[in-house]
Structure formats: structure tokens, C-alpha cells
């Protein structure tokens, strides 16, 4: 009877998405300001790298184009993660305040349900930024565009999974906002700087707990040499992170305490 699970989830996502777009349409000024701020921030760092690399040549193995590619890819992946899983950064708060109840009462996978139920419209700016950068980099081709997309999707899944895991700590500790915020900040910050400047010991962390390696370092290597065969491996890694996040969330769910706070879905 319910054979077409994927189709059903697809329909659910489309409906959630439509509802979200409507509910944020009144914040379009906010969206424009946010996108403007993001562009400005990225431009400021682009200027920084242009100045530095102009003085010294490649830093930690990254030339200016490499830096721009990484910023573009991370931005697109980060944006995609927040468009699809708009609740991911609120997950800890949702758990803590007991707002998970509503999702648990519905016949959907709880983690997917809570994550997909919201979209972050501001993230469209981040998503587009990567494509703008790609367009500005020399040698644009259909193949490079395809590879960029093929790299951005697993990176987005890894972003969402890592954030979801960090936020799921809320099941186990009283207030995990601080540590979850820190983990997210680490992931984003380390991804945006050249792999070569970090020491060996740290790199272990960057390919596990803080998976910057898989959202930025490896994708850059793949993109530089158009190394398609490595792409499935990255998708595999993304699936592993997603499965881990799902398992960790499930483990926490058994300990869910469902606080009693008045709240509404915004």
C-alpha cells in the first residue's frame, strides 16, 4: 500500500518547501540584506587572499583560484544543506524545548521530518555564490559545472549530518548550544583555509570529527585533476556520515524527555 516511500517523502518535502517559501516571503528585505552581507564578507576574504597570495605565491598549497573554488564549493554546499535541512541548526533547541513532539507524532522518520520541515531562504544566496565563483574562474565548461555539482551534494550531506550530530548532543547534556555552536564553527572555519597549513595531528581530526577534509580538501583535489573516479567515494563518505547522524539521533531519541513549553511552529 505504501510502496512508493521515496515518492511520498518527495511530496512531503515539496509541500514543506512550498509552505516555507510562503512563510518567509514577508522577510524578503531581510533575505536581500543577508545575501548582501554574505557577498560582502566573501569579497572581504577574497581581497585578503588576493593580497596575501599576491605577495607570497601559493599558501599551504593553495593558489588564489584554489581558495576561490573552496569558498565557492563550501558556500554552495552550506547553502544546500540549509535549504534542504533548514532546521538543522535549531535541532538542539528543538530537542531541549521539547518541540520534537510534533514531529514524533507523525508517521515519518523523525530526523528527516524535523530537518526537512524547514528551509532557510537566506541560504539561496550561499547556494548561488558558488556558481557565481565557478563562472568567474577561468575554463568554465559543462564538465566542470557537473563535477562541481557532484561534489557539492555530498559536501552538503556531510555538513547537515555533522551539524545534526553536534545538535543531537542536546539529548545527552543539559545545554549543548555552546559545544554544538563551536563544532559548527570549527567545521566551517577549517574548511575555508588551505589544508597544507594544518599539522599532521590536526589533519586526523579534520577527516573525522570535524570533516573539513571531505567538504573542502578532497573536493579541491578532485576538481583540480578532474578526478571523477573519486566522486563515488565522497558520496560513500557522505552516506556514512548520514547513517552515523541518524544512528546518533536515534540513540538520543530514547532519552528524549519532551519538556512542556508553549511553542508554535515558525
Amino acid at each position: 500500500m505504501r510502496k512508493w516511500r521515496l515518492a511520498a517523502y518527495g511530496r512531503f518535502m515539496a509541500a514543506a518547501f512550498a509552505a516555507n517559501v510562503k512563510s518567509v516571503i514577508e522577510y524578503r528585505v531581510n533575505f536581500l540584506v543577508q545575501t548582501f552581507g554574505m557577498m560582502l564578507n566573501n569579497a572581504a576574504f577574497a581581497a585578503f587572499w588576493a593580497v596575501l597570495i599576491g605577495r607570497t605565491g601559493a599558501v599551504g598549497g593553495y593558489g588564489f583560484q584554489d581558495v576561490m573554488f573552496v569558498w565557492g564549493l563550501v558556500s554552495t554546499a552550506f547553502g544546500l544543506a540549509h535549504i534542504l535541512a533548514g532546521n538543522v541548526r535549531q535541532l538542539g533547541r528543538i530537542i531541549m524545548e521539547g518541540s520534537l513532539d510534533v514531529y514524533l507524532l507523525q508517521p515519518k522518520d523523525a530526523l528527516l521530518n524535523v530537518l526537512l520541515s524547514k528551509t532557510d531562504v537566506g541560504a539561496w544566496g550561499d547556494l548561488l555564490y558558488g556558481f557565481v565563483v565557478l563562472g568567474l574562474l577561468p575554463g568554465l565548461s559543462l564538465e566542470r559545472l557537473a563535477l562541481f555539482c557532484a561534489l557539492a551534494v555530498p559536501a552538503a550531506v556531510i555538513f547537515a549530518s555533522a551539524f545534526a550530530m553536534a545538535e543531537s548532543l542536546a539529548f545527552f547534556m543539559g545545554n549543548s548550544q555552546g559545544i554544538a555552536g563551536a563544532l559548527s564553527e570549527f567545521l566551517l572555519s577549517f574548511s575555508l583555509y588551505p589544508e597544507g597549513v594544518f599539522g599532521k595531528g590536526l589533519r586526523w581530526v579534520l577527516y573525522s570529527l570535524v570533516p573539513s577534509g571531505f567538504v573542502a580538501f578532497v573536493p579541491l583535489r578532485v576538481f583540480r585533476s578532474m578526478d571523477w573516479p573519486l566522486v563515488p567515494a565522497l558520496w560513500g563518505v557522505a552516506i556514512v556520515y548520514a547513517v552515523l547522524a541518524r544512528a546518533f539521533f536515534g540513540l538520543g531519541l530514547k532519552r528524549y524527555e519532551s519538556g512542556n513549553r508553549m511553542d508554535t511552529r515558525v
Binding site: 509552505a19 507523525q106 508554535t264 515558525v266
Partner: protein
């Protein structure tokens, strides 16, 4: 067939306590202090399909925790539950197809959007075919009188209107069991009456099993056939509303007011309240015939007014607590209802 069964259902919460005093944060890190709270201590009850059952108890008695275990939100720490033959903790998703729930304090409607959008989204969540969804939505809109509300953002609805929408929304997938946690909390009298009427109709017309928690005795007296009372995590009463009412009906409150100061001493009865010209008595009709009491009072002086009322259900429950768990329980209830 039993729609809901709870067997030794228990929930223990382990709370982290923030230690006080010097180096508190450090001590918390080394050896965190914990406090164990048994919110639900092995409750047993069952609800037949088609029944409307009230689940009562003062604040913190374990009502919400129980209802959350029955709907799969919380995992029990002992015992178990079956709802429509499924284990809510293990088969949450399967169960969700056939139950509906309204938690007065947790909204499933989107705050900034009109209910129509939430209905569409819930239709997708419950995989209701678009055509069927339109039919059901239409029927619910008519029945719950939502025609004018469907296109108004939820944030602009009154609480009563919102709860009506919430209940309608919880029926979009035609559930067989409906859980209502404090559905009338914060509503005015008119809105309450309306909600009660809807619940009654839902049960009578569609045979939906209703499991309802409430503080409001009115909800329960009017709507429910049976009451389960929980206190300190344990079931203290499980009987038909009729029996419960019968107990209550054996006690009457008699109020009198005289034209001028009158001596109102009655042998064997002491007034609950009295002034020079008025008094209020609680009369146990098993011991004193009501007729005798009224006649005796009428003979004392020139009556201005006399009233006879059923004892409020709160008091009945309070007395049951007092009988079951001693004076402490009664003190807690009084403190809670004050």
C-alpha cells in the same frame, strides 16, 4: 477490543542537579549529582475502542508523561503499552498513521501561515491522496466551522479558533484514536462548550476512541463515560463516570441566607462557612436526609434564599486522594488547586 492498554507502564527521569557552593562547576564535572524522579510508577488501565475516557490528575501527576508514552514520544523505562495492538515505543511510525493528537501546548500548525497551508502539508505528511484530502478538508471545515479561518495566518487566530483548527488538523488522516492533552486549557466558556460538543460528536458519529486529559471537570463530566485518576504517578481511581458521580451526588452543598441574624446550629452538622445571616453546609445524604436538613433550616428563621448543589468533582477527587495516600496527598492537591 481494547484500543489502549497500559501494563505496568513506568517512566523514570534522571535529572541533573546543578550543585551549589564552592567549586560547584568542577564538582559537577567530576561527579555530577543526579536526582531520580519517578513520573509514572507502573500504571495499568485499558480503554475499549469507541470509549471516551478522561485521564485526570493534578499538575505533575504524570498525565502528560503517560500520554506521551502512549503516542510514542517518550520511551517507557518499564512496563509497556499497546495502542491499536502496536507498541508505541517500537512502532511509532506505524502507529502514527492511525492516531491523532492535540497537545494544547504544542501546535502542529504553522504560525505564520493560514491553516489551509498546514492542512496541505499534513496531507502530504500522512500521504492522503489529493482528492481525498480535499474532500476531508471540506468536511472538517464545515463541521468545525472553519470556513472563515482557513485563510487567516494562525498567529492572528484566537486561542479557541486555533484549537478548533488543531483538532480538525489532527483528523486529516481519519485516525481511530484521538489523544487530547488539555484541549480546553485557557479557553473561555463558549469556546469550551464548542470543543466539548465537537468531541462528543466525533465519538458518536465516527466512533473515534478519545483519550483526554484535562483540569476542567466540566470537560470530563459532560464528555467522558469513564475516568482514570492518576496521582503521584499511580492510578488511584478507574471507574465509570456514573459511579464517580454517584459518590459525588451523595454529598450536597446546602447554602442558606436569612433576613436577619439567626442561630443556625444543626445537630450533627457543622457549617463549612458561616456569617451572622448565612451559612453553607456539606451534607452527606447517606447520613442525613436532605429533606430533614432543609426543613430544619427553614424553621430557624425567615429565609431569603436556599440553594442545594452537587459537590464539585474536584472535592471528590481530593477526598479520594486523601483516603488513598493519606493527609499528605490532600495537602498537595489543595495547594495545587489554590
Amino acid at each position: 477490543m481494547a484500543a489502549i492498554v497500559a501494563e505496568n507502564l513506568s517512566k523514570r527521569f534522571i535529572l541533573r542537579v546543578r550543585p551549589q557552593g564552592r567549586f560547584a562547576a568542577l564538582r559537577a564535572l567530576v561527579r555530577p549529582e543526579r536526582r531520580i524522579v519517578d513520573a509514572v510508577k507502573g500504571v495499568n488501565f485499558s480503554v475499549d475502542e469507541g470509549e471516551v475516557v478522561a485521564f485526570l490528575g493534578p499538575n505533575g501527576a504524570g498525565k502528560s508523561t503517560t500520554i506521551k508514552m502512549l503516542t510514542g514520544i517518550l520511551t517507557p523505562s518499564g512496563g509497556g503499552a499497546r495502542v491499536l495492538g502496536l507498541d508505541p515505543a517500537r512502532e511509532r511510525k506505524r502507529l502514527a498513521w492511525s492516531i491523532g493528537s492535540v497537545f494544547g501546548q504544542k501546535s502542529q500548525l504553522w504560525f505564520h501561515l493560514p491553516p489551509a497551508d498546514s492542512f496541505r502539508l499534513l496531507g502530504a505528511v500522512y500521504e492522503v491522496e489529493p482528492k481525498l484530502l480535499r474532500e476531508r478538508t471540506g468536511a472538517l471545515v464545515e463541521r468545525f466551522g472553519l470556513a472563515e479561518l482557513m485563510d487567516v495566518p494562525v498567529r492572528k487566530l484566537s486561542l479557541g479558533q486555533r484549537i478548533r483548527c488543531e483538532i480538525a488538523a489532527s483528523l486529516i488522516h481519519a485516525p481511530r484514536v484521538l489523544f487530547l492533552d488539555e484541549p480546553t486549557i485557557g479557553l473561555d466558556v463558549v469556546a469550551r462548550k464548542e470543543i466539548r460538543r465537537l468531541i462528543e460528536e466525533l465519538n458518536k458519529r465516527d466512533g473515534v476512541t478519545v483519550f483526554l486529559t484535562s483540569h476542567d471537570m466540566g470537560d470530563i463530566e459532560k464528555v467522558c463515560k469513564r475516568a482514570v485518576i492518576i496521582h503521584h504517578g499511580e492510578v488511584v481511581v478507574d471507574e465509570s463516570m456514573k459511579t464517580l458521580k454517584h459518590r459525588a451526588l451523595s454529598r450536597k452543598h446546602v447554602g442558606v441566607r436569612y433576613a436577619r441574624p439567626t442561630s443556625m446550629d444543626l445537630p450533627g452538622l457543622s457549617p463549612l462557612k458561616r456569617t451572622e445571616q448565612s451559612a453553607r453546609y456539606e451534607v452527606d445524604t447517606n447520613r442525613h436526609a436532605l429533606r430533614d436538613v432543609v426543613r430544619a433550616l427553614a424553621e430557624r428563621g425567615e429565609l431569603v434564599d436556599i440553594t442545594v448543589e452537587d459537590e464539585p468533582l474536584e472535592n471528590v477527587i481530593e477526598q479520594i486522594y486523601a483516603a488513598r495516600s493519606g493527609a499528605e496527598a490532600a495537602a498537595v492537591t489543595r495547594g495545587g488547586s489554590a
